[in-house]
Amino acid sequence: MQQGGGSETEVTWEDQQNINKFGRLNNRFHELEDEIKIAKETTDNLEDASNELILTDEDVVRFQIGEVFAHVPKDEVENRIENMKEVTSQKLEKLEEEKQSVVAQMAELKKILYGKFKDSINLEED
């Protein structure tokens, strides 16, 4: 946290709570970015998998369930992959929404805190 120039700006409990909230939101923002990255990778993998599935001419596909690869008929695998794609894309959508909300809240808090403390506070990523 940046040291001020020895100025004596009052820090009220409300200010402290705003600062705390900003810290929490910042953490959540980074977590969300990681989760979104993973969800995007999963979506790509599922996309690749379903493309491969179209190309293959086998009737039985080895589909991973848990730690083993079960022999599953191609149709069933197609359905499973469709479901997984649906679930993942919904999850991704929710994560993106939450990220938008977090970013908006952080911008709000930045306005308030910079307004009061100006140079005495640093809210940027290093």
Binding site: W13, V68, H71
Partner: protein, 191 residues
Amino acid sequence: MASSSSASGTVVTERRGIPGAQFVADVQTYLTQSGLDVNSALAFLQERLQQYKLVEMKLLAQQRDLQAKIPDIEKCLDVVGTLQAKKGTGEALLTDFEVSEGIYSRARIEETDSVCLWLGANVMLEYSLEEATALLQKNLENARASLEVLITDLEFLRDQVTVTQVTIARVYNWDVHQRRIQQAVATPTQE
């Protein structure tokens, strides 16, 4: 300079062994009340910060463990679900499983009513499919609940860290401010 008299701090009770950081509304009052000089106060606050960091490491490690455990349980549920679906179809389930790195073998799983679950500590128990599903479901819920509590603990801890960091900055600034005032007072009298 001093603001209108307000309580010198809002005390947050501790949470599950983590002491709450006292919010300081006025540095002067805080130093007078605690009877510490600036350096001792700063040292005390720095030490508190270190303790918080230690606890944070511990909690983060626990969180990572739980976050690894949950997908594991979900995979087990998947397998049990598949076995249950196969029941009644009369077909056997063919699977390829890893024997060693890169080497797989084929297994033929006949219709079955039970599975064995690894409970840890070299213990494995046989359960009916329904019992196994129920047990795994319960474990999953417990793990998720523990994770929730852990995340709330971490949030509380981070708040305390932020409060302590802000207090350290303010005590330091107050000190710099005091020295400046004293210098300004000292200089005119020398004329």
